[in-house]
Amino acid sequence: MLDIIPFPAAPHVRLGSSSGQPLTRRDGLLKVTGAATYAADNHPAGMLHAVVAVSTIARGRVTSLDVAAAKAHPGVVEVITPANRPPLAMDPDGKHGLFGFRFEALQNERVRYAKQPIAVVVAETLEAATEGARLLAPTYEVEPARIGFENGERYDPPTVGIGSPADFDRGDLAAGLGAATHLIETEYETPAQYHNAMEPHAIVAEWDGDRLTIDTPNQAILMARAGFAAFFGIPAENVLLRSPFLGGGFGSKAILAGPQILCILAARMLGRPVKLVLPRDQMFGPVGHRGATQQHLRLGLDAVGRLTALEHRAVAMTSSFDEFIEPAANASHNLYASPAISTRHSAVRADIGTPGPMRAPGEATGSAALECAMDEAALACGIDPLEMRLRNYAETDPATGRAFSAKALRECYAQGAERFGWAGRPLAPRQMRDDSGLLVGWGMGSALFPAPMFQAEARATLRSDGTALVETAAADMGQGAWTALAQIAADGLGLDIDKVEFRAGSSELPDGGIAGGSGHTATAGSALHSAGTDVIGKLAEIAANDPDSPLFGAGNAGVEARGGRLYHGADETRSESYSDILARAGLQTLEGNGKGGRDPANAEARAMFSHGAVFAEVKVDPDLGQVRVTRLVGAFAAGRIINPRLARSQLYGGMIWGLSFALHEEALHDRRTGRPMNADLAGYHVPVHADIPVMEALLVDEDDPYVNALGIKGVGEIGITGTVGAIANAIWHATGIRAHRFPIRIEDLTE
């Protein structure tokens, strides 16, 4: 096959001494002392508290609200309902831009899902606002709720995820299936899951004339600023959005939500700052979730276990009035080689809040089904599950035929298997027990996640004292942007990280892009690095043209920046500090700018993904069906790792989300009322300390010259893929029982 890529890779940048170091978090001190300021910690003078009243029905109309009772409660200042809600500059039911979702901002009395906002009570205290909301005692004209796949209207969505095609075909599926020796036909169901960041959505809004200041956690600060401004008919630059720390995001804090708009409205209406924090139960309505899926796969295999055809069909649940179609079937596009791949999506409308992107949207659900199906295929062919994956190893991207920018998946398999001790695993299930008689099973799964880049900008300012300020509106929701991005910026400037002041998390700064899609470090990092090299380029030019500089005549290319000094490329003894160069030039500061984004030629030529392999051990009580995950080992190749300490934490987090997906998380909606029945953290299970086994995340070296000049991919989401399948497959290996729905419950494992 053609091995020559007609487009050049980006020039490969040698990073300096900060990148690659396992530095502890630069925001660590603030976070362990309680000094890190999250949105709800703000308390401007004269602030009022708002509480949203939400519907207790899933479809119908609000026919009455006892506004008088609420207003009569001491401390209540105002009750906002559709009857008195001031106008917005844009229709909340319009679709505005790619990330524009329809939302409820009291535009009418219609109820389209349970826990939808139907009124806002504003009061002097939180206690009064809470009681005021209760006193509204709404009555409704109720229409029957349509809940579940079988009760909703089915349709074919034009796109899935964020603008991806709903259908995909490559090769001849019928021929591939016809040629198969073994045919696997299987189904998997995944439930609705809610992000449930530990920090509930919160906002503090304050107006000064037509200028708005909002403190609210946000994953895409400049994009959100434009959105908020548009809804209030003011220029974007009139909005100051501060989001220095997000208490978790996972996709739910990238999209404008009704309660935020209502808080800003209340502040404008009343001429005072207003704070609104969603109670936990309201996190199960207006702020998105991972939509439920039903997936159907057919795998054709030849006699030695190679795929002849791979078909993946997904039905995804969405709301009655908008759509986000969990692109589950697309997980089958890029992982395993198959002469025929066919994927389809359809959708079902139900009376629920609109789903949205949640950590690894599509990849998590789709990979869960695909990895289980591959295990079923291995069983049918009588080969080891890891060998099965190796026999179907994709040397080029199965969806496009393009070369991979880099793919160290084989090394991931090898290192993960070695570390886990996979060799010698019995093929048949129910072969292993521990000392106390528990069934033991081993399973594995492949992990894959795209390595996208978006757009970001950054500014770097070198100061006369040899320190620098670097700025971009990056968002840190826990992934470690405050640290990793500062490391990259320091290297771009050739400075020790302690000499670099990093400002992020505010809309006053250059656009830092989106903290999502596992592309933030690559994108904002590239912008910061190039802003640094821009400054250094200017500085080098000054020095090279200054007859008094030891670098005189060196020319830009002949200068190297490190440790706050420029060195002559051909003669290391000729060097000068940044401060001296600036001082002689009479400059207090020197500014540079940078952009982050993918080289379009490389994007066109190469398929870009992070890869990994996850191995799980479970123990299952043979009588009670109780499952414990006892070991998890993941090995991941994701380009250059900027900070191994933080990258490992991200991977652990993803793997724990995989464990949660496999065994814990599920939102249940009552079929009669449409209400979520477990809208709290006692009923909606996420793993606790005691659920988490001994874990390891191996960082497999991978040099990727094509993704970007820094070689950075991302690690935020890949951990969840592979892990779900690995655990489900280990449960099969322990018990011989193949569960076809998630989470896998005790009742699925008892006969």
Partner: protein, 163 residues
């Protein structure tokens, strides 16, 4: 109706005039005493983000009415460090990367401090996992947290031996 209570918060005696008996200790700290380090994650005792020590014991501040705590001694995350000197648990959380977003962290740390003071941490990670299971971390920083608690407990043991 005004209720007067007296609390010691982080070593400082505070006379609090409460105009509302519904105020929880958590909301008192956050909204009225400007101590926002303690976080509200669920407001019903299910997540542990609001964990503080009251008279030396771990409690969920969201489940305690402020009026019921007249005379109590309250320790929050803001009162844990001795000036610039971090409590060993705080330092261990940084060293072991026992947090990501940081929102559950004040509760995790106060819970860990409580666990160690209760003599329940020990050197068995399994025991620590059980003892810390009232504190949820959605980012999944559990591995680092357990290592941090083990480390801090080890340090506490050494100090006890020296003393």
């Amino acid at each position: 109706m005004t209720l007067s209570i007296c609390l010691t918060v982080n070593g400082v005696r505070k006379d609090v005039m409460l105009d509302d008996p519904r105020v929880t200790l958590l909301d008192l700290l956050r909204e009225r005493l400007d101590l926002t380090g303690t976080k509200k994650g669920c407001d019903r005792g299910q997540c542990g983000a609001c964990t503080v020590l009251v008279d030396g014991r771990r409690i969920n501040a969201c489940l305690a009415l402020a009026v019921s705590l007249d005379g109590a001694d309250v320790l929050t995350i803001e009162g844990l460090a001795d000036g610039d000197r971090l409590d060993p648990v705080q330092a261990a959380f940084i060293a072991h990367d026992g947090f990501q977003c940081g929102f559950c962290t004040p509760g995790q740390i106060m819970s860990a401090v409580g666990l160690i003071r209760e003599g329940e941490a020990g050197s068995d990670p399994e025991r620590i996992r059980e003892g810390m299971s009232g504190n949820l971390c959605r980012c999944g920083a559990y591995a680092g947290i357990v290592e941090a608690v083990l480390d801090a407990q080890r340090l506490a043991n050494e100090e006890r031996r020296v003393a």
